[in-house]
Symmetry: D2
Subunit: 499 residues, 4 copies
């Protein structure tokens, strides 16, 4: 008990870091300027609302008479429904999964508590789980990212949602608790994004935790800080699926997504012309590879900094000069950090940048650029647009800082629904797998998605591109020593880190 | 006299086409979502204004006590000044020209009337002209594109501006007339964008027209519909400079700009993922070349339609399949028109498109897509965002139409200040050239910018890129038969059409 | 007469420059390592030949008993025939022209003397001219470039060919003279490549020259040194067609061809890996654009030098740093010259290059690199492969010089038959046009190919790519003010210089 | 004994497959048209040699009086020395390793037998091993790939080389045996390429085998057929290092190398123009990714076939249409196989290809294209160049088959010395590691190169590109949980399969 007490103190520290939690990677897939205001009318719903009453103090009932939910305004359900319908258009893999498995109801009996961003895309996932037989209770993993109208639409059809945009810290944990703690309802599956829900159940409902059949976690933090740590400490008494490190997610969330969002994020915030600009990209992992490829293609002159000789050699072969930041700091127009490291751009370097240069972060958190060092009296900050600050030196030099150093693609660009579809499909399959796995297949450990399932997720998304897979003949399969239906990668293959 | 009367009737017809004037090419450089709302506070200034009084009915005085202007609100001058300062950062060529020529005042005595979009970038041009000695009176070439705060800032420093956002048709001509018709002030230079100002002077002040020393015109319409027609008819009694067809403008406004704005326009409106998308680009001129290059680089699969065998062959060599639209209409995700033609995408073809496909126009006007054919009772239009309509077929199929078929890059993306700087510098130089040209150098005709001047504009912009020109040695210049300082293109070289 | 005498002295000087004539642009399309040794057996035919007798001293008769030709060995005709058949596969446009026009024999009565490289591709052209009704007599424009077996094959079917590989200077003019000077045969058309034939007729047969109905010339030298000079001097008494500056030729010979041949030339000679290499390309015209695009795509880091601000600005926007050569000379791995200028790379700069760096020329002649300056006693030359010299400095530094500074793509790579097909088709059409043009259409001047014909050449080549042209509707043609069948470019459009 | 007898029968079967052994991957790095004839004089040395005496029957002595070697002609040593010196220029990493470790002689006492291709690049490796203290005896892993002059040069300085170009099968094993079986000399290290040497020692010298301290093997065959099989069977009594699957080798040998060699191989054999060509690439692993990237960059239109949904999705996102081969077989100009599979292109499909289309293989062996099916009476084969056959159908259709379906980049293009340097450096480090590893670090198993060593190899090659690594600060290293000097990849990272 004592130890738990102590850990709660630690938790409190985590709580106080709340605003920066927005910077964690997993968030990047869900809150974006546009997805929250994709309908102009939506914006007015939310923003012009003179309704300042806390949802916790409201009494709301959906059209079926149920009140087992807590959202901003149940009346906005119809609008949210339309958002969900639009999202469905680009999530055909999930819809297809829904159709294929609807008959056999592979999640019949599953009682899932979920803690994710609550957006139109998540709604498509939740409604798929329901269609496959599950009962779901849901809460938000971030206090800002909930699309209120979508939460209303889910509540309207009977999903127990506890979430709204702009929760307080106290609201956040209250909502989580409401999800779990329901008379006569014992969750047996967890879908988490960030580990907060898992952690809460582990601490507050240790007995309930033991009855969980499986945890599906998709964030770096949740996987590497909670699950692997718990497992190492021998305290993980349920099998867990690490969705974060699946191949499809890695490639899509990082390489391909960043290739598009770096351009989008820079344009929306600064209208900068890419042609001829000198750019330095710090870090040449998957994120850096995506950013450099896009900028090179648009006519920028791109430099790379790296600590790892192998990634450096790749950068060379891909046509980028590998330099130390100080070598180019006076000449570049744009700095982009993608390292996962801290203080990659220091005050000293910011002092030497050109007037009008742009600094932003595509990496893991707001530590990459030493933004704190810019909050000193001699520098003036001028907010020129949402997410765009001019930091002005005494001599009049302006450096343009985006999103205060937080993730650019999280704050200033959108993530295509197609990419969210890949993650959501993976989550659904992971839940099905864990829920239906025969006794003994999974121990009390953290697992990667089976290769075959990764391939299945990919194959469900090929129809979007009208791509036609070639099938092995019996003879060819034998020659290669493969099953005709996959998996097509050998057992020793595992792709878990950008290179 | 009679003929003028008749022509006025024609003018009226032009007036009734006002809303579509927004579609003309020249506009593309100035009104964009972002440039008009680049400061969030700016937006509130303008939008939340409960001041519905027409500027024509207001009495306003700037801080120096002058009232020779008519803008929305002179009190917003300070905000506009900041916008201008920010624009100056990316217009170093113009600032550099200002500094170089400030001593000799090459425009001393010039009385310039201007009719252009009134934006921060134009303000930098106007203030450059003033710094070089000119007196300026200015009005807007478009009823929607004026940045009110910038107009105020100009009026505050004594430029006589007559323009505001949201003018009526009557206001438009009233403003033009106020610019020209000032007691004791006779314009001797015209800077026009679209030909309306030129036309008005020609019609209303035929005597004044003859005293003009030169006209500088930058729009396709102004050049090819007015100036060349007047010249052909023998009625152009002043030399005119065709800025539209200068090399720098063609390449930058078309190839390089479209390469960036096609991505920006599509992302801002639809958040579409480019990777793997099948796109057909109609037309492979400079605009089409820019669009296809960008989309190919982002991982789209791009098809091209063309009528011209030479451009077709280029498309082939650049790696695009050249098809008829009907061959791919059922499979493509995105159609982009860049032809300058009409009815390039017909209702019949729209009927055959896939659910969720996107249709937009990067060409010359809203005629390329037969949008009118979609305004029929059986189709439902749903406005999902600003500039984005879902057109819904009876079977539920949705086609996403952007900007109602008007120019995407005009409506839904921004144009970098750097590109505007090129045009503005060209305009300034053209004015200087015409104003200072010795008697006889220019006849009553339409001229292209002298090659040397084109090169000078380009050279002024090289410092932005820290580009270093190589200089010819005497021996090399002799070998090539060139002057060491250019022009570097032979006399027979003229680049005036995309190929 | 006196003046002619004097000019002959000048001609002599030209003769003494013979070896460097190989460097002229027009040559680039025909002699290549591979086309001359495309059959291994061919090589042995030619090389192992112990037959050192001059063809002028031989008595040869073809299988029909004719002896009006002079080639290396008429017995090799069959082998040459196979080379021609292979070339025909990639020249479907010419074959198609042959078929379309074979019935009407548009060249019936034409007596054409030709002076070009004599290769399999030229043979396809010549046989097309014959099929269209012409009588042809042919000679080589270069003393080294003749494919002897092809010359034999042509002679075998009755074309009067006077050419062999390895002619002496005296042989060269003897062959030209034999072509023209035939009893009872008066040429009425000239097809020239380099101007030598034209010049000879002009000087030696002034009366015959006047009877020529048209000259078709394809080389820069022939066009700009001879034809335009003659025309300027009022001495060009026949219409001439400038094929060199046609759109298709410019784009294909320069941009697209160089994009491929720069890679091919470097690989075949040095096996260099492109990835990560630092390369400076001097000159950013069409040739430079092609080279830089290819190398950038292969992962090289490319710098550009330029004298022209407009091309410099393009280089910037295309993503290349524009530098002075001295800024990067110590760091680059490869220098490529594409300027058309002389002494672009000086001895002083070669002294500063790195050990192992490569220097080559893609521009107009061997003057771009100051190769002469390397022929000094302190430097050692070591020939390591054909066309590859190591120049060794006293400290052991080696610089790799390709083709002794002559054109790389001429000497060390091949030109695709498809590109030769474009030029050959253009030449055929130009001959047809001049021969059939109604009196008065062409004066005694130099003409560009009519736009429509340029487009026709392009359209004949589209089938190779299975490209499908879109046709204008009547309504669209009217809207654009174009004829439905082209030309599709406006009258004021003329593309004649790389930019 | 019996079992060995039986296995020898199997070996015999292997022997009979000798010619196809040329197709195995490991070979690709060494025999290439150019590396064997890089000096024209070299070619003549070898080819024109009228010396048909078997080296085994010759008595040769080097200048020091030693005769412990067997090569073609010891007198050609000087020429070989020059080849080695040229190779050293591009192998600065190995030279640098030689200098760094020369003092401490980390291989003092090592007695290495090697079986690899014997080329100038291998010579640089061998001489590095000698410089670090090793005694070396060497033989060739392929009967065709030995550069005789290089073998002579090595023998001249005292390395015991037993190899020549054109060995018989019997010679091959005689040479291997001579390497091992030397009075008073017991090898303690093996460097193998293909497993033949290892196998011979294992079978013939079981006692000697046990005294080996380590095996370094670089080929797929050697690693996956011999070492892992032996290990699985519990018969591998020495630690072995799998160099084949090191990151640097995978990326360089496959992705980056193929990106260049596909273009080179196609050009050298066919002079084909890439622009506008339709190409289908079968397989989208690293090799396929390299090929498609290069061809797309050169303006080809590229289709991909795949069996694996994940690779398919990558192909889509990279901008390629994923099709079944039959969908495009009639329209493509070029087919390239990169699958590692067999019968990927069948006779039925070859029957449907276009006239003039090209078929080649970049994958693992000559099984990918069903070449055997083309050897039927109704088809005519015509050899048009070295490595190029026209297969002619009864209707005259020609399909161009390259290298008879064997590896194109092995047969028809070269591999840059820089890439060979990476592999050679890895081999040297692996030998040093195994030789010096403390007791117990390596068991009797197959190991991948330690991550840190992979990174060291990479770092040694960065200077070639003048790339500058960024160093972690103490604070940053702590934040990332990394040692400042690497390894920089987490433990769970392993890259062993193309994806």
């Amino acid at each position: 008990m004592e130890s738990i007490q102590i850990q709660f103190v630690e938790d409190k520290q985590e709580f106080s870091r709340f605003p920066t939690k927005a910077g964690r990677r997993s968030l990047s897939r869900s809150i974006s300027q546009s997805s929250t205001d994709s309908y102009s009318s939506a914006a007015s719903y939310t923003d012009s609302s003179d309704d300042e009453t806390s949802p916790r103090d409201k009494i709301q009932v959906n059209s079926k008479g149920t009140n087992d939910f807590c959202v901003k305004n149940i009346k906005h359900a119809e609008f949210g429904r339309r958002e969900i319908e639009i999202a469905e258009q680009d999530m055909s893999a999930l819809i297809s999964l829904r159709k294929r498995a609807q008959g056999e109801k592979p999640l019949a009996g599953a009682k899932i508590v979920g803690c994710t961003h609550i957006t139109a895309q998540t709604a498509v996932l939740i409604e798929t789980l329901v269609a496959l037989g599950a009962q779901c209770r849901w809460t938000a993993c971030n206090i800002y990212s909930t699309q209120n109208e979508v939460a209303a639409a889910l509540s309207e059809i009977g999903v127990a949602v506890f979430a709204w945009k702009g929760e307080s810290e106290d609201d956040f944990w209250w909502c989580i608790n409401k999800c779990i703690n329901m008379e006569g309802w014992q969750p047996n599956m967890i879908l988490d994004d960030g580990g907060d829900l898992t952690h809460w159940v582990y601490k507050k409902y240790p007995n309930g935790f033991k009855k969980i059949r499986g945890i599906v976690e998709e964030s770096v933090t949740g996987v590497h800080r909670w699950l692997y740590q718990l497992s190492k400490a021998g305290k993980l008494c349920v099998p867990a699926m690490n969705v974060n490190d699946s191949v499809t997610k890695q490639k899509f969330d990082n390489l391909y997504c960043c290739r598009e969002s770096i351009l989008d994020g820079l344009k929306r915030t600064t209208d900068v012309m890419f042609g001829g600009k000198q750019v330095v990209v710090c870090g040449y992992g998957e994120v850096g590879k995506g950013c450099t490829a896009a900028l090179k293609a648009m006519g920028s002159i791109v430099y790379v900094t790296e600590i790892d000789p192998i990634c450096s050699l790749q950068a060379c072969m891909d046509g980028f000069r590998v330099v130390k930041l100080n070598e180019v700091i006076r000449q570049v127009d744009i700095i982009i950090t993608c390292t996962g490291n801290k203080n990659v751009v220091t005050r000293d370097q910011l002092d030497r940048m050109k007037n009008g240069s742009i600094v932003c972060n595509m990496g893991h958190s707001n530590t990459e650029i030493d933004v704190a060092s810019l909050r000193t009296p001699e520098l003036t900050w001028e907010r020129v647009r949402s997410q765009v600050d001019h930091v002005i030196w005494p001599d009049g030099k302006r450096v343009i800082l985006l999103a205060e150093g937080r993730l650019l693609n999280l704050s200033c660009s959108t993530v295509p629904t197609f990419v969210l579809s890949i993650t959501a499909t993976t989550q659904a399959l992971a839940l099905i797998e864990l829920y239906n796995a025969p006794e003994g297949r999974y121990k009390q450990d953290v697992y990667l998605l089976p290769k075959k399932m990764d391939e299945y997720v990919a194959s469900l998304h090929l129809s979007t591109f009208d791509a036609h897979l070639t099938e092995l003949s019996d003879e060819q399969a034998k020659y290669l020593g493969l099953n005709k239906n996959g998996p097509f990668k050998p057992n020793y293959y595992r792709y878990t880190f950008p290179c």
